[in-house]
Amino acid sequence: MAGGGPRHGLLERQPFSAQLIRAANRLATGLRSELLAVHIEAEKMEFPLGDKERDCLAKNMRLAEDLGAKTLTVVGKNVVDEMLLLARKQNITAIVVGKPNHWKISDAFGGSLVDKIIRRCGNINVYVIPGAQDGEAKSEQPSKNGHAGLSYQHAWLSLMMVVFVTAFGWWLQAELEVINIAFLYILPVLLSALWWGKWASYLSAITGMLALDFYFIEPIMTFSIGDVRYIWSFIIFLLLSALIGGRTDELKKESRQARQQEKSTRAVYEFSRDIAAVIDMEAIAKSLARQAGETIERKILVLLPDEKGTIKNEIRYEPAGGIVNEKMRLTTLSEAEIAVAAWVYKNKQAAGRSTDTLPGGKYLYVPIYSQANVFAVLGIDLALQKLTPSEQRLIDAWVRLSAIAMERVRLAEKARRSDMLIEADKLRTALFNSLSHELKTPLSAILGSVSSLLEADDFYSKQERLDLLTNIKDSSLRMERLIANLLDTARMESGMMKIKTDWCDMEDIVGATLRRLGDLLKNHRLAVDIEPALPFVKGDCVLIEQVLVNLIDNAIKYSEKQTEIIIRVKKIPQAVEIAILDQGVGIPEKDLEKIFSKFYRVKQPKKISGTGLGLSICKGIVEAHKGEITAVNRSSGGTLVSFTLPVKTSADDEKFSCRRIL
């Protein structure tokens, strides 16, 4: 913090009101000073903070942060002392306090909080804003769970206990002294404090005291007291009861709060552990949906945007079925709900049910965002039940944790992308090197042959002319194959290669491949071994044919004439396997893994033309079909390249065959 500059303090002990914060902010802007929002929590509170207050506090703190204020929470004995101490330490020039709307009894002695501050502030300006405390922020103290007031049932049970003690005392009257019976009356006070809270215990105390007076203290059966000293006994009894009742109730409340706290902490901790190592958005979103869904037992949506920032995907958690939407398509939301979610995504603000913005729908939408980015939107179904404040706080914590995790994923992605760019750059260089050689060689041959023929047609014999023409044709074919491979690679790289799925009969495709290769095969012995009754494969027949062409072309290129090439197609579990076996030179063991990468070519003593693209294209196509491609050396010499194409399950087949053919 820079010292010396004017600083503007906003100090409040009660949970801030939004109105106060905004007023202070306007003032700070006017005075061109920094704003500091301070919450002072008294060590000894008149009453512990209820859920609503805590909630309101958190909300207001966030508001203050959003407005650019620095926030502080201080715990101290005396609010005014702490406030002024902090103000001096932080070099505060002005204090803004809210003037409470209600007059308190304590204000009559020593003045209200505002009075005290004004009296002791010295040279600090004090601004008092009226109506500072939000009426709505006050929760129905004491807050709900069990210790809310006194129910008829609990009053009844407390009275019954008193009646029971009275009957017991009456029965043992002869054996017991009055003083012992009086002790017995402590029992209902204690138990009702433990079970039903302090009001029940106070009731037991008063009725117990009356019963004691009525039944056991002379004169019996009247409320009058014979011995004045009993008055002291009653006062002590009441004091004791009040202490026990109040304290037991408080302890109970504290332990419940501690349990609640522990549960929340665990929920947050579990979630943070779940997403700690996750490296993709979807998994984080799934974790969030599951964690939130399981803990607060409501329908949860996590909406993810596509690259353009339109909300396209959802992950849905249903209390009954867990995460149900595996395909991630938006399915359940109406247009209006999507519009709300889109607004939340755009404006980084919660909206929807239970907020002031677009409250019409079924869901509450909370943005998951960091400083720079909005990653997703969390939707919580509030159609049946509103959120409790503790749930609200939990959700807040999860959302922040998810935002951090998603930010991390985004950054990792960015880093990876820049790596990919470097990789792409290397690729481009390799491409140019390879291209210039592979394209120029056949081109020189063509140009050379053609110019010879043009310039001196008569000079060459018929056979020589034929040789030159054949040379032109072969070179052109080589260029054509190269260009086709380059185009395929480019298409795959740019993601433009679209798989057009259709039913493919492998027997059919093998036939078409052999026909396409035609004369290239004439120097090798070909054996085709296709298992009968193969299931059809769902895929792009043209691309699969391309894979086969490339693989067989390779087998031809890398094996001697008159050797055997085997094409074997068979059914394996869940897939069809296509293998090409040759008796060629084989692949050095260390290269087996790399031959499917781009531009990789095995170093050959014999010069064989090629770009090193064919196999990488094969791999791309096979993997796009969710298959696998591998190469191994055969024990008898030569190479076996095989790829698999997954087959749909029999259930799908049945569905198909059940349809009637006309």
């Binding site: 086709a484 259709d502 009969d505 027997e507 059919d508 052999l514 035609g518 059809f536 006309l662």
Partner: protein
């Protein structure tokens, strides 16, 4: 959809090369002699000057009268005046898509159209065929292949009545008697199988898309039903072909459809 059945007696041998990709062959055997297409008028619509030049030289040398146009609009206009017997239309035209040219011309004429495509995209070819093109040739093409395709189309257009017997190499499809004979043995086919063989044979030398085949045999063309065609073709090949993995009569045009060859 064009009526697929034409001709009275039909001999399809020599229409197209056997089992080899077009440009791996010399194409000499299939081109026939000069002048056999005497007087036939061909309109070439292609924006590439070199291709137009090539086609003009080759086709003129084979006796065709050639007219060339470099864009779609001009091509359509010329088609009305020049009244060609056959059109060669490039799919990648600068002004309007070649498919649109096919569609417009089909609105008023049944003149055979062969589309030229430099693209490897099967979808384009299928669309052009389904819009009414008679066949396609992929660039780069060999002269032999192009001339063979043109001859099939021209012969087809010249015959109007249904043929009774179709002979393709050793295979005879006797439409009148509902019989398919390979060499001297009669091949037993189920009614659907026979129907497929008949439709393919009636369009011998010409590619039929899966859709066209479905429509001709089953009367509808739901895309997902191409499954059945594959099953039937497999069965037919096992009965018809000596080696079903390297078929001779029913050849697969991968991703597009089937072609019946002699």
């Amino acid at each position: 959809m064009k009526n697929l059945a034409v001709g009275v007696y039909y001999k399809c041998s020599g229409l197209s090369e056997k089992g080899t990709p077009p440009y791996f062959k010399d194409g000499k055997g299939a081109t026939g002699g000069r002048g056999m297409a005497e007087g036939m008028r061909v309109l070439v619509i292609d924006d590439e000057a070199q291709i137009r030049k090539l086609l003009q030289v080759i086709l003129s040398a084979h006796g065709y009268t050639v007219e060339a146009s470099k864009n779609g609009t001009d091509g359509i206009a010329r088609a009305t005046m020049f009244k060609p017997d056959l059109l060669l239309v490039d799919l990648g035209l600068p002004d309007l898509d070649g498919k649109m040219v096919v569609k417009e011309i089909r609105e008023w004429s049944k003149v055979p159209i062969i589309v030229l495509t430099a693209r490897d995209e099967e979808q384009e070819k299928i669309e052009a065929l389904d819009l009414g093109a008679d066949d396609y040739v992929t660039k780069p093409f060999s002269t032999g292949e192009l001339l063979a395709r043109m001859r099939v189309c021209l012969r087809r257009a010249g015959v109007t009545e249904d043929e009774a017997v179709i002979e393709c190499g050793d295979l005879t499809v006797d439409i009148a008697k509902h019989k398919v004979i390979e060499g001297s043995r009669e091949i037993k086919l189920t009614p659907t199988e026979y129907e497929i063989v008949k439709v393919l044979a009636q369009n011998a030398g010409r590619v039929l898309t899966h859709k066209q085949l479905l429509k001709a045999v089953w009367g509808h063309d739901y895309d997902e039903d191409t499954h059945y065609i594959r099953v039937y073709i497999g069965q037919i090949r096992r009965k018809l072909e000596k080696d079903p993995t390297q078929p001779r009569y029913i050849v697969t045009e991968t991703g597009i459809g089937y072609r019946f060859t002699g």
